[in-house]
């Protein structure tokens, strides 16, 4: 993605080709998560939902990023495979945008031996180190210091790689946010922080839990330059992330992107999100980043047929992934004892 550097400051200047690529990424994420959601029915007990082990192919909590796809798509279009990324509990989009194979990811969600994590992690720990995706994380904000350390290692060892660190709006109220940003600042690390602000921390409206002007103001107070962007406008995310990453790559130290978006689904797949109004949701659906991109592409003269083809390709990709996931086998019991640790391996009790 070396053309990232040449993107005009104004996101309106995006090329049709690039916007189509971004759209494709978003569509692939959406298709993956829609399929995972269906496969997960009965898979988690929370929010009053009961387990139905027979029905569920994907078990355990599934956090969907539906409606937020523009953020990973726009940011990762400006990353190369050699760059690193740390993610959150809501990490499917980050993984796909960073180049992970949805088939291996779906196998992981199905708990298969050939999943990205060999069936050990599932959705909450989805990771593909081979493309620099250092993992989703079950602990809010835990990825922030890890990202700082990864960037610190790059700084110490040399090299051009950078790190993109994703976290939610809720994470800005956890201590590691402060500690990690401060760390990145004082050691001048090649690190882009990306706050995916979907307005909610699980069932809680984040604004009521957050003092001051929010994420960007906090970043600036720590000396990390910050910009805000409409996180549903994939071209805008692409443009601003490109600009910030160019600064990072130029040795400008850590930068911060506050992307405002919206979580169209519940917190986990089973959450009916009864705490928000229908009107709020309807407004948000209007701003679905896929629709926005489609309208924009339409203005470029790229119409239903071409977009339909992209969607069909994504559907086909996911259909293949589902098929592979269904056909693959679970890790054998012995696998539970692999990759614990070298020193002391074999001593389980």
């Amino acid at each position: 993605d070396s053309d990232a550097m040449s993107i005009p400051e104004d996101s309106a200047g995006i090329s049709a080709r690039r916007l189509m690529a971004l759209y494709r990424t978003m569509v692939r994420i959406r298709a993956f998560e829609d399929a995972a959601e269906v496969a997960s029915r009965g898979g988690v007990a929370a929010f009053g939902a009961a387990l139905d082990a027979h029905a569920a192919q994907v078990r355990g909590p599934l956090h969907l990023s539906t409606g937020q796809e523009a953020v990973p798509a726009g940011v990762c279009a400006n990353l190369s495979r050699a760059d690193y990324l740390t993610s959150t509990h809501r990490g499917h989009g980050h993984a796909i945008a960073k180049g992970a194979d949805p088939c291996a990811m779906m196998c992981e969600l199905f708990g298969r031996a050939n999943g990205t994590n060999g069936g050990k992690g599932g959705s909450m720990h989805i990771a593909d180190f081979s493309v620099g995706m250092l993992g989703a994380n079950g602990v809010v904000a835990a990825g922030i210091p890890i990202a700082a350390g990864a960037a610190h290692a790059i700084r110490i060892r040399g090299g051009d790689a950078v790190v993109a660190c994703f976290f939610g709006d809720g994470a800005v109220n956890r201590g590691p946010f402060l500690e990690g940003l401060n760390w990145a600042r004082i050691f001048d690390l090649p690190l882009l922080f990306v706050c995916e602000d979907n307005r909610y921390s699980a069932t809680t409206a984040t604004a009521a839990m957050t003092g001051g002007e929010g994420a960007a103001a906090r970043a600036r107070s720590i000396g990390v330059p910050a910009e805000c962007v409409d996180g549903n406008d994939v071209a805008a995310v692409d443009a601003v992330a490109g600009r910030l990453l160019a600064r990072v790559r130029a040795g400008g130290g850590p930068q911060f992107l506050h992307a405002v978006t919206y979580r169209l689904k519940g917190h986990v797949s089973v959450d009916p999100a009864a705490y928000r109004s229908r009107a709020e949701l309807d407004r948000a659906i209007e701003l679905d980043p896929l629709r926005l991109a489609e309208r924009r592409l339409d203005a470029f003269g790229i119409g239903g047929e071409e977009l339909g083809a992209i969607r069909a390709q994504a559907q086909a990709e996911i259909a293949r992934a589902l098929e592979a996931a269904r056909a693959s086998s679970a890790p054998p019991p012995e696998a539970a004892y692999a990759d614990v640790q070298d020193c002391g391996a074999g001593r389980w009790r």
Binding site: R59, G119, G122, R174, A202, E334
Partner: protein
């Protein structure tokens, strides 16, 4: 007498405690919507946001603030969602809450209840599945509770709130929907184990969700002519040594079973104590020392179910275990 779930039982106990003592408050993430497992359902509506407090995702501040609240006259009930997230508040729990009274020479008390739901939560993998009760039992100043039934959750949450010490209240993540009878006004003192099934040949001690597996295994063992006494410890600290020792003295054998990793688990404390005091044969069965994996086949390796307990009992007692206890038990 009412039939209710483990979550409802806790909710009822908390509601009664809040009704009876206005110093009792609850705080944690998402409580205003009833908590993600419904264990606070209706409480915000009933007692208001001033006493059922929605918090930011700030575990350190949640527990630290609870310490400050307790010092200034409240009796906070703190929700950590899962034990695993409480790792973000270990200084506050272990260095602050547990030691405050002592290090300040008894000037203050910290009557808080830290609810740390423990254990696996189906397919939630390594960071949402830990049982760390042995950590807290090791820390002077802390009381540690782990109820196995709706009735005990009801009674012990009441007891925890009434207790003037900081209490770690370990509910189990997979018991929220368990239904059972909760007698009106039911009370169980902290520190009192329950003998759930009398037996003659061996004493089986457990707590939390594994109690149910232990009972099933005891039942099945009966068919093999083995009479198993099952004790639900209920309180990890101070644990009911008298009841356990009396039972062991009678049966002459002890097996402790728990969901936590066996190495360094609290079963070691019980087994060691019984070995020291009675010099009878002891055995433990806890999880292998592996993180909990996501896939069902991996997760199963970390589960201590009734079959595994039964096999261990039979293998030990009569040399006729039907298969190796755990594939990888070295």
């Amino acid at each position: 007498m009412a039939l209710m779930t483990y979550a409802q039982a806790a909710c009822g106990a908390l509601a009664e405690a809040m009704e009876g003592d206005e110093r009792v408050v609850a705080l944690g993430e998402d409580l205003g919507r009833g908590g993600v497992f419904g264990q606070y359902a209706g409480l915000a509506q009933r007692f208001g946001a001033r006493r059922v407090i929605d918090t930011p995702i700030s575990e350190a501040a949640i527990l630290g603030a609870a310490v400050g609240m307790a010092l200034v006259g409240l009796r906070p009930v703190v929700e950590m969602r899962v034990t695993d997230f409480a790792l973000c508040a270990m200084d506050e729990l272990v260095n602050q809450a547990a030691k405050n009274r002592y290090m300040f020479g008894g000037q203050g008390r910290v009557p808080l209840v830290a609810r740390l739901p423990a254990g696996m939560w189906s397919a939630s993998a390594a960071q949402h599945s830990q049982s760390l009760e042995s950590w807290f039992a090791h820390i002077p100043g802390l009381v540690v509770i782990a109820p196995a039934s709706p009735a005990d959750n009801y009674a012990l949450l009441h007891a925890a709130i009434a207790c003037d010490d900081p209490v770690v209240h370990h509910e189990h993540k997979e018991l929220w929907s368990l239904t059972g009878e909760v007698p009106q006004g039911h009370r169980v003192p902290i520190g009192q184990a329950g003998v759930l099934r009398p037996g003659e040949d061996v004493t089986l001690v457990s707590w939390s969700k594994t109690v149910h597996a232990a009972l099933d295994a005891a039942q099945a063992a009966q068919h093999s002519g083995l009479s198993v006494e099952v004790i639900d410890l209920r309180t990890l600290w101070p644990w009911d040594r008298e009841t356990v020792l009396a039972s062991c003295a009678k049966t002459g054998r002890l097996m402790v079973v728990h969901e936590a990793v066996q190495a360094g688990g609290f079963g070691a404390e019980i087994a060691a104590t019984v070995a020291e005091q009675l010099a009878i044969p002891v055995r433990r069965l806890g999880a292998p020392r592996i993180p909990v994996g996501y896939a069902a086949s991996l997760e199963a390796e970390a589960r201590i179910g009734s079959q595994r307990i039964l096999d261990a009992l039979l293998e030990w007692m009569e040399g006729r275990g039907r298969r190796r206890i755990a594939a990888a038990n070295d």
